[in-house]
Amino acid sequence: MTARGVASFLILAAGVAATSWAADVAPTAKPAADQSMADSTLIARGAELAAIGNCASCHTHPEGKSFAGGRPIKTPFGTLYSTNITPDNETGIGKWSAEDFLRAMHDGVAPGRRNLYPAFPYDHFTRLTDNDVEAIYAFVMTREPVRLTAPPNQLAFPMNLRSALSVWKVLFLERGAYRPDPQQDAEWNRGAYLVEGLGHCGACHTPRNAMGAEEHTRDFDGGQSEGWDAPALNSSSPAPSAWTAEQLYAYLRQGRDENHGTAVGPMKPVVDNLSQVPESDVRAIARYVAWRMNRGQLVRVAATSSDSAQTVIGDGEAIFRGACASCHEAEASGGPIRSGRTVPLSLTTSVNAPDARNAIHIVLEGIWPDAGEKGAFMPPFEGAFTEQQLAALLGYVRSRYARGPAWSDLPKQVRAIMHTGQKQ
């Protein structure tokens, strides 16, 4: 948060602090006997919706039990720990009624008038129908209860005050269910409902302002997630080859599209989830995102020649030949790759993106299929290169394969990522 952001926030907080914005929230009764929730159809639908909402990704610690929380979530304001949403009575949401759950999803308020941090994307979940929230509730409340309390959040003032979130909500939370666009057909509207609501795609793919709220004048203009760059999903998409709905469907369903690349980093769990939900929902999401990407700008800039006025730094080319070419030039040279074709670097989003972060992460960390699963693979190069060498290599790759200008802050970004050891 900038100094000005903090200052304006404090002024607003002081003005509103005395008012209880959550005054209308009273604790409601405990849920009735479990039998009433034993509607297996409802639970199954809730499971699919929870997968589209990617709930488990945040609410599960990498080494913990599903939905038991405790996963650290780094924000510009400090570290939050996801909460336990298993039905444990003491440490989870076992005592929450369906209404409590609906209020949390729609208004970001937990029982006891406790404002929730918008890392929980209720600014999107507020678009959900009551029926869908009810199904998710039925699913979550029938999971195995786990006794686990998340560590306390580590947030800087004033964000450590939950009352201050009332101000945030006044400014940035637009409540209300999704309103279908009558000009569009049912599939388009389904896609929009899922993307804008439950899928909360904008939480990563839309830039955020100094107070951590999405900038809606720049919807889907590209944002950040866990140290990765979340590319633009509008006409600013860095993909050299325009995405079609069919390609987006393949990417979201199988984690890979041959004309764009492989889902990595924080996108990986998203596509893992989307491989398990109804096909029609993924098609609807793909259709809507493709519509957003291609709206207004179908003509793309022609590729510039690769020998443009970019400086090739140091010995990037020799490093490329020794470390990368055996796979990435395999088709041209008859190299040894056997396990399927690589996506040409000239087409990958990470190489063409305006931000070098994802390319750095991918070279250092590699690409892994899940244990025992088939999938795209790239070995990790962590430890192989010094900062200067990695910057030289990526500078060369960028100048040879991308259409955009050189990454101006490449050495700085390489240093930052190699030093924080920010691995996913």
Binding site: E63, D315, A318, I319, R321, G322, A323, A325, S326, C327, P336, I337, S339, G366, W368, F377, M378, P379, P380, F381, E382, G383, A384, F385, T386, Q389
Partner: protein
């Protein structure tokens, strides 16, 4: 000519800049500990250490290695005096055909130098890039655990113990 620091010894090598370190080790220097498995960084048989990190020598061009410290299995010990990890792999009989073992040991060495008492989960996560097609992974995990113990005991010994 490229000058390399291998196991503390300076070696001058006449090789093209993009030659993989593995080829230099095996073909130029006759250091045959590191093995060629896939040549694509998919199996880990070629693993060595560079500045304390485990790397695939089959995909590391020598041009990036000037002034950096390379360690290979030959630097950990000898037949007469095996290093802690080599001893532990023998004691646990962690090798079947043995082709992957030099790489396994070097990757484990990089772990134990940074973390003297790794959990089983940490060992498994760290060793993930290296494959054993005979399937001795369980014994490999045991050997790494055992070596960690030996190395800790070694570090705890009073320095003057040998002189009293």
């Amino acid at each position: 000519m490229i000058e390399l620091d291998i196991n503390g010894t300076k070696r001058s090598v006449d090789a093209e800049a993009d030659t993989p370190l593995l080829y230099v080790l095996r073909d130029h220097l006759a250091m045959n500990g590191a093995k060629f498995g896939c040549g694509l960084g998919q199996c880990g048989a070629c693993t060595v250490m560079v500045d304390g990190e485990a790397v695939f020598s089959c995909m590391t061009p020598v041009s990036v290695l000037a002034g950096r410290k390379i360690r290979t299995i030959e630097g950990l010990g000898t037949v007469e005096q095996p290093g802690a990890l080599q001893r532990a792999f023998i004691d646990e009989q962690a090798a079947q055909c043995g082709y992957c073992i030099a790489g396994m040991i070097m990757r484990a060495q990089a772990l134990l130098e940074k973390n003297s008492s790794p959990s089983d989960a940490e060992i498994r996560r760290h060793m993930m890039p290296n494959l054993c097609r005979c399937g001795t992974h369980m014994r490999i995990v045991k050997a790494v655990r055992r070596a960690a113990q030996t190395m800790r005991a070694e570090a705890d010994k009073p320095k003057s113990a040998g002189q009293t």
